[in-house]
Every structure is written in structure tokens, then in C-alpha cells.
Symmetry: C2
Subunit: 353 residues, 2 copies
DNA sequence: TTTTAAAATGCAAACGATTGCGCAACCTTT
DNA sequence: AAAGGTTGCGCAATCGTTTGCATTTTAAAA
């Protein structure tokens, strides 16, 4: 078994005394070829250890069977899971996934998309970088007639298929949950950026308050970058208030975590004194103490759905295609950090003894 | 700005009244082309919005500028970070990264590698699936003269470049740390599989005990699958012992986490009564209460190193190449779960008041 | 002004698979 | 037995770049 020169359909053809055309057709199971020769070709191919050259086919066909995926960073839990979801469905259709990172930089994003064009990907699935406000580079993809699907961080500036979760609904529901648990002064950590997800979560928060007869109070809504440290700072700030809140709904798990740390340092009981909820269901949320109530973003399903929209678009005439906006209902993940009633009940029965 | 038919070097050539050869050479900055025409070509290319077709080039050159990466699952924190590292260096060299998942299935792994062959990747970077014991599919890559780099889960059955961390050293050091903190009965959670990493960690554990004059006790080494639930069970088991350990070094963060839960449920103080250490530095370890001491696996550097080995191999004559085995020294991440001395000190000063 | 070397560009064949069109050979029908 | 249909396969162009080997142009030397 030495290394033999790469075998092509021509080699097979020669061996069988037929032409490459016939071999090609046989391999592609064309009805124009007799069963006998098909069998012969298949057999010879196996025997000679033939490996089709997708690149040659790609050149001829003008399609590469490759999807380009752009994410801010490949190792953030959410994005990693989406990529996983995309790969899972791509895999079943013999498509490959090229992954590239934009690092939330506009310039990188533009470069990256150009690189994907050069690589001749058949289309692109992307989550827009935080600092991107111009979308010409994505439009280019559309102009080329490539399928383009946006997920999570999308924009309405583009007529494009997109998948996201219903941030409003998730926020609304979780605030409602907090209220149901007896919380009456619910604070919210938000982000001032134009990014729509945070706006939506804020809207869900305010509407839930309103519809449940609770007042919206400016001082309870604190904006920040939503990282761990920001969460700490925001919590400190809230604790300065004359009237301390009895719950915090953070638009990010990290900030919620920061708040949790501060509360614990001050021996403020969670959830009895302050209930806590985050957003994203980052893997770490189940390991905190108490485990953090949060909203699951359905990352893997989102990836799958994005891929499905992609292939749907791939199959239909670019002129006929109508972009689809898919909104996934997120799932509430209720954990101890917000189960005030239960905690009180346990406290009561323990005290009774 | 309508969609113009794709422009090729021939179009540029025609416009400039030269041939495609010249255009090609100009674009590739060949010394055989005069500066004047180079300028002209570049200008025309920009003007006509020329996009090079990598596929055609790949066909002609026999190389695609694509690396195939195989991981068990794309969304496990460790692998996601390695992929990130790989992509980072690939990106600087205008290489693209195709990612594919083996799901720890041998069959999938074989299929996946075949698919990568078809895609004509220039080489492969992979972490071997848990259940893989035959390596013919990887050998095929080598026979084709492709660069092949293995990371983390490697094998000595293949003469191949590999990157891993020094599990022995990491384990040794962390056990030493526990001893230094005053622990004398240190338990260990391990995994019975043939996978070398766990064997190495076990070896580091036993050697550290030995070299520090502590006895190795069978009953303190408990094997399991090292998931959260396994950690819980193992801890329960340890608590049944006549002499309960005063520390646990788990070969996985998840199992360590399970142990932490059990200890907390029983109000056993961490680290005062039982110190805890894990392995991997999974992101969640910094969010537990107390934060978990662990060993960082240098995932991003590992990815970068794997990519560097890859390119190194790509550059050198396959016959001359000598596989490199790179062993990264992991980093101890000391957190509260093991800082017994500090905890005792604080306890003491608090009591004094 | 011719000769000669160097510099710049052109020609044409690859790379490997696909496919529209055409041409045999064979079968059916009348 | 001639006309018309099928069936099975071959021819040759094509996808867009690259590159070895000319060939032309330019500049320098004689």
C-alpha cells in the first residue's frame, strides 16, 4: 500500500476502457448509464481507492458545499453551541462549515466576509458584531445571490432571513415569575447600546411591571456593560437606595453573578431578601450557589434553525425568496435564586422545629 | 451597481489588452512583471470589483488553504477554545478552518475525516474520540502527505505531531499545593479508561503523596465517569469512610463540583474541613462558591500551538519532517476551595474579636 | 545600425469533474 | 425492410488560475 498518485475519473475510465464522462455519470448515478457499467465503475473506484475531488467539482458547478459562519468569538458558550447546531444539520447534507471570528470588530468582520467570498462559500450564517452599524458587506453577499442568514444579533436594515429568540417574551415571563414569587421592587440591569436584544428585554421588564400593577421606577433600572464587575457595581449602587429592591432581573448572567457575589458578601439572603434572575443560561449558572434562575436562549436549536433557513434559501430561486424571520420562544430556567416562596416555606418549617 | 457577471482575470486582461497570464502574475506580484502593468492591473481589479476564485486556484495548485479540525463536540468549553486558538493563527496566514464533530463516535470520526479529504483540506488537526482505538483513518492522512496534528487526546500509535499538557505535572503540583495547605488525607477522583490523561493525573497524585511522605491509600482513590453526578456519588462514598479525607483532588471539574455540592449540603466546611481541587479550569469553576481551585489546560495556547505545528509541517518536506511532541505546562489556578490556611486564619481573627 | 542580452509578456496546457450535444447500436413498429 | 424510438456512451468545451516555455519588446553593447 504505497502512496499512489491520486486517482481521477480518467484513471478509472482508462482502466475500464470507457470515457471520463461515463465514469462521472456513473458515479453520480445518472439514469443514462447502464447498471452494468455503473457497477463496474463503482467497483473500480473502490478498488483503486478513488477520492472525488470536490474542488474540481466546485469549480465546474460553481458551488462549494461550504457554509461560512461568522461569530464574534468561537469560544463563547452561546456561539459555540450555535456553531454546533449549524454543523449538525450541515453535516447531514454533506455541507462543511467554515468558522471565522470577527472579534466584534467591524473591520475584522468585513475582512472575514471577503475571505469567505474568496473561499467561495455557498452562503453565510452570521451573528453581527457589536460595533457594526454599516451593513454593506452583508449586502454584497445578497447581491451575489448567496443565502444569508443572521442569528441572535440581527438587524432590520437588511432584508434577510434571521433567527432570534423572543427577548421580550423571555424578559416578560421571568419578571412575571419574580412577581409571582412575591417580589414587588424589581430592579433591572440593562445595556445602553443600540443592540436590540437589551431594548427588548427592558421592554419586557417594563411591560410586565405595568401589567401587574407595579410602578416603573427609574432608579431601579441600571445600565452598564453587563460584565461580572458591572454587575457588582450595579448591585452596590442599588444597595445605596433608601428602598432596596427585593429582586434583580439582569439582562446578562454575568452581571447577575456579580450581583450574587455582592449580596452574599453582605449576607443578604438570596432569594429571601433579594431574588435574582439572569438571561442566557450560560453553563455556569447551574453551578452557582444558589443556582441562578435564567432564560435559556436555545442555542443549539437556534443553530439548527439557522442552518435550515439557509438550506431553504439555497433551494429557492433568489428572486422568489422571501426572507423568513424566525423567533424562538426561550425557555425559563427556574432555579433557587428566585424561588422565594419555597425558600420561605423551608425557613418556616425549619424554624417550627 | 447591479450584479455584474463575475469578473475573472480574463476580463481584466481584456480590458487592459494583455493576457490572463500577465494579470495572474501581476496579482501574485511576480518579479517578471513590470511595475507599471502591476499598478494598472491592481487598479483595474479594484475598479471592476474583482474577486479571486480560490477554488480555481486550489484546483490548479492542489492546495485549498483550508485546515480541517475534528473535535468531539464543538461546544465543550475546552474544545471551543482550542478551535478559537487555531482559527486565530490560521487567520493570520489566510487559511480557513473547517470544523467538524465526531461526537466521540469512531464511525463518525472515520466518516468525518473522509469528508475532509473530499473537501481537499490541506491537512488536519484533531482530538481523538474517546472510543477510537484504531487509527487507520489518521494514517491515511499521513500517507497522503498531509500535515496531521493531534491535540489533547493523542496516541502514541501514530508518529505524529501532538500538543498536550503535562497532566502529570499539573496533578503533582496541585496535590503538592494541597499538602502545603496542611491536607494529609487527600482523595482522588479518577477515570478507569485507558485514556492516558487520567492515568497521568493519577500518577502525579501518587508521586506527590509519596515524595511528601504521605501514604497512598486505595480507599481514597475512587474511579468513575467524572460527571457531576459521579462526583456526588464518589463524595458520598468517601464520607462513609472511618477516616474521612481532608481534601479531594478530582481529575475533572465537574466531579469536583458534585463533591462540593454534597459537602455543602452536609455543612462540611470547604476548605477548612475538606479542601477541593479540580482539573481543566472550566469557566464555571470561578463562579462556584467557594470558587474552585483547578488546573488550567491552556486551551487557547494549545490551539495556537497546534496550528503552529501544522504550518511548520506544511512548510517542510514530508520525508524530512520529524513529528514534534509539544507538552505545555499547565497553570495552577488557586482559588478559595483549597486555601485552607487563609480560611483558618480568617476564622481565627474573626473568633478573636 | 546591427548584435545581444535582459526584461516583459503571451501561448497553451494543465488541474479534475461536469454536461450539452451528437452518434452509434439496438429494438420496435408498420 | 425502412422509418422512427430508445438506450448507452463519447466528444469536447467549460469552470478560473497557474506556470513552463516560447516570443516579443526594450535597452545596452559593438
Amino acid at each position: 500500500m504505497e502512496i499512489k498518485a491520486k486517482v481521477t475519473i480518467h484513471d478509472i475510465a482508462e482502466k475500464l476502457n470507457i470515457t471520463a464522462s461515463t465514469v462521472s455519470r456513473a458515479l453520480n448515478n445518472s439514469p443514462r448509464i447502464s447498471e452494468t457499467t455503473k457497477k463496474a465503475v463503482l467497483k473500480a473506484a473502490k478498488q483503486m481507492n478513488y477520492q472525488p475531488n470536490n474542488i474540481a467539482a466546485a469549480l465546474r458547478n460553481g458551488k462549494s458545499n461550504i457554509i461560512g459562519v461568522i461569530v464574534p468569538t468561537a469560544d463563547r458558550a452561546f456561539f459555540a453551541s450555535v456553531v454546533r447546531g449549524i454543523e449538525e444539520v450541515a453535516n447531514t447534507l454533506d455541507y462543511k462549515v467554515i468558522i471565522s471570528q470577527s472579534y466584534d470588530s467591524y473591520e475584522k468582520e468585513v475582512q472575514t466576509i471577503e475571505a469567505l467570498f474568496r473561499a467561495r462559500v455557498d452562503g453565510i450564517i452570521a451573528s453581527i458584531g457589536k460595533n457594526t452599524e454599516d451593513f454593506e458587506h452583508f449586502k454584497k453577499a445578497q447581491q451575489k445571490g448567496m443565502p444569508l442568514v443572521l442569528f441572535d444579533r440581527t438587524t432590520d436594515a437588511l432584508e434577510v432571513s434571521q433567527v432570534m429568540i423572543d427577548d421580550y417574551w423571555g424578559a416578560y415571563k421571568i419578571v412575571e415569575h419574580l412577581i409571582e414569587q412575591g417580589c414587588r421592587r424589581i430592579a433591572h440591569f440593562t445595556n445602553p447600546k443600540k443592540v436590540s436584544v437589551f431594548k427588548e428585554r427592558l421592554r419586557g421588564y417594563t411591560d410586565a411591571l405595568k401589567n401587574n400593577g407595579l410602578p416603573y421606577e427609574e432608579e431601579l433600572v441600571v445600565p452598564s456593560n453587563l460584565q461580572l464587575e458591572d454587575g457588582r457595581a450595579s448591585m452596590e449602587q442599588l444597595l445605596q437606595l433608601k428602598e432596596v429592591p427585593d429582586a434583580v432581573f439582569s439582562a446578562s448572567d454575568f452581571a447577575a453573578m456579580g450581583a450574587m457575589q455582592v449580596l452574599k458578601e453582605r449576607s443578604i439572603k438570596i432569594p429571601e431578601q433579594v431574588a435574582l434572575a439572569g438571561f442566557s443560561n450560560d453553563p455556569f449558572t447551574s453551578f452557582s450557589d444558589p443556582p441562578l434562575t435564567t432564560v435559556d436562549q436555545l442555542s443549539i436549536p437556534m443553530g439548527k434553525m439557522a442552518a435550515e433557513l439557509f438550506f431553504q434559501q439555497l433551494k429557492t430561486d433568489p428572486n422568489k425568496y422571501i426572507p423568513q424571520k424566525t423567533v424562538l420562544k426561550p425557555e425559563l430556567v427556574i432555579r433557587k435564586s428566585s424561588l422565594k416562596k419555597e425558600a420561605q416555606l423551608i425557613a418556616a418549617t425549619t424554624a417550627q422545629k
